[in-house]
Symmetry: C3
Subunit: 267 residues, 3 copies
């Protein structure tokens, strides 16, 4: 694989403390803010239509997360997205639940037309729905499609002209040309709400300090999958997702370039 | 006591991973989602008026929680509730704070008229207010009434034609005919916000896999009270509600039928 | 320093369990509710315009937190604030992010005109913006001003006719006449989202049982800074902000007057 800017990103986070503006859902908003702090960036979660443009204008990256999308929040997301585009900061989109209801799918497609999205992170079904595929509404994973995650990431990257990250057993990242797979992770990452949303915040934090969005996506995704794996190893008998979530945050916080380079399994 | 479908519920959760649609408050929404995952169900927290009907149409149970009720949220709750009624999935209602302000009490009573509620879970005051009783607004527990929790549960079940669960030192569950009391629990469950809301999510998860709503209520309530008791036993000197909340989630996650049958004290 | 009513406040919390009505942001609302419980008070987080007046009428203190301020929430804050003023309970204001966008700054200044605020808690920049200062929007700390935090607290207290608390490396509290500095704390308190918001909830809890708002501010601020310091001491190698946040809540929960008097370093 081509050289990734791992070193530059970790150093950028250490020295730059990028400001990550996030318009996100009410379920995982606290975890997203803490994940952003844990990786060394600074979160701001303003959503009011009166100030999102001004706030995006101060930020180094913008996260748009559809988890609990409402009509009001959608308007704020469009304004903030356009402000981000004007300023030239990355817009990172998490199409939570897209494909599950027509409302979400339509709003997501509209959003991609109105705002230039630089990075999309979702699961297989969500990304598939975003490029017009029909998935089972209960959340069929892309594994049941005729495409692998990696093929889907590449196809979606071409269609949407963005870096695509598909989280899953193996994570797939593509910008349409380059492709990476991350083999780290742990099944318990699916047993805690918000690990996907947090990953999106981590990727945006990385993209806030690097114009190489493909590398930012690989580094941010790698941090989460590796942190999940490392947290799980520290779980004792009788412990469950309560302890796992605490240790996951610890692992993101203590992650550094050396650990990342040594333990992330890239293909 | 008549045979409870404990075995069928635990097996249903394991194999069915029911989808629990929850329109709930902003305070405990993350904990409710994680409690739902911990017991083996799948949470979706969509609240937007544009999609709640579609989402309820995909779900196996619906939770309506009044914690931070607003006029908009109320409208979504009515639409989702009617969709749930049409589909025949259980509606589980948590009348948080009902009795404290006239707004809440009136909205709760309206809600029970517009939507067929299958299970109600609250504390003594909330349930008492729901059947038209006047309680001290600062939250007098039903212990100060002339009724025991068990008598109140039975009376409310008859009046509201629903399974009633009253959480407290001892929990009382009734469908108007059958009555159960659970003697497990721990006082620290009242020192963490959201344990009531989480219990409602657990009960809905159980009702999502069993048409025997009385059993679902007993099993879900029992999981929380027993998990609280078990978590408290693992607390060391110098630890408090931070650690307790983590261990509570662990205990819900690791709970199984064997532990439940052995340690839940039912009367 | 003049006598502080530390003893009276701790005893008041133990016996009075004051009800703290909080209209706050969606990011840290759960942590604020749990911090309130941990110090021995009772939280209620109602925000709906239809009931905030009634709820404030039941409360012993009101928290107004601007973290995710919207136009609707602002209206509720004004209604609740006026109801609190009429009832004579303390209004504790957290001007989160004021100075960052013109919208926030203007709304905060408007708020101080419409409602009598008794205590303000913020960082240096926020308090500076509140008295009309121009700070760097990315959040310059008041250390870069020509004023110390203590001088700024005193000046703001005079200008705003309120007790002012400025959280920082050393915390500064003033009512315009009296001045206190707290030298406890830990840098990790800035690495977890919501520690400022939680401090505001703690201060309001103390003010809910004491008319000596200066003492309430010192006690509440001291609880957080000392809890942070004590939590950090219990962190092992490989642990990070996940574990720290859990232990922070434990320390607030287990804090008592003896520990406070022995370990809080006041000047």
């Amino acid at each position: 694989m081509e050289q990734l800017s791992v070193n530059q990103i970790f150093r950028g986070l250490e020295t730059g403390k990028p400001l990550i503006h996030q318009i996100t859902n009410n379920v995982t908003i606290n975890d997203c803010a803490n994940a952003t702090l844990a990786i060394g960036a600074s979160p701001v979660m303003a959503t009011s239509i009166e100030e999102v443009e001004a706030m995006a204008g101060l930020a180094d990256a913008l996260v748009i997360n559809f988890g609990t999308i409402t009509a009001d929040m959608y308007e704020s997301m469009v304004l903030a997205g356009k402000a981000a585009n004007r300023k030239g900061i990355p817009v990172v989109f998490d199409p939570v639940g897209v494909g599950a209801t027509p409302y979400r799918t339509q709003k997501a497609m509209d959003y991609m037309k109105k705002v230039k999205v630089d990075i999309v992170r979702g699961n297989g079904t969500e990304v598939y729905a975003l490029i017009g595929g029909q998935a089972n509404t209960r959340g069929v994973d892309a594994g049941e499609l005729s495409l692998t995650h990696t093929e889907l990431a590449k196809l979606a990257a071409e269609k949407l002209n963005a870096v695509i990250v598909i989280s899953g057993k193996h994570d797939a990242i593509s910008d349409g040309t380059r492709v990476a797979e991350i083999e780290n992770g742990d099944i318990w990452l699916t047993a805690v709400t918000g690990t996907g949303c947090m990953t999106t915040s981590l990727i945006a934090s990385c993209a806030g300090v690097s114009e190489d969005y493909f590398s930012a996506a690989v580094v941010g995704m790698g941090v989460m999958s590796l942190a999940g794996e490392r947290a799980r190893r520290k779980i004792s008998d009788g412990e469950g997702i309560g302890t796992f979530k605490v240790k996951l945050m610890d692992e993101i916080f203590t992650m550094n370039e050396t650990v990342w380079e040594r333990e992330v399994i890239l293909r």
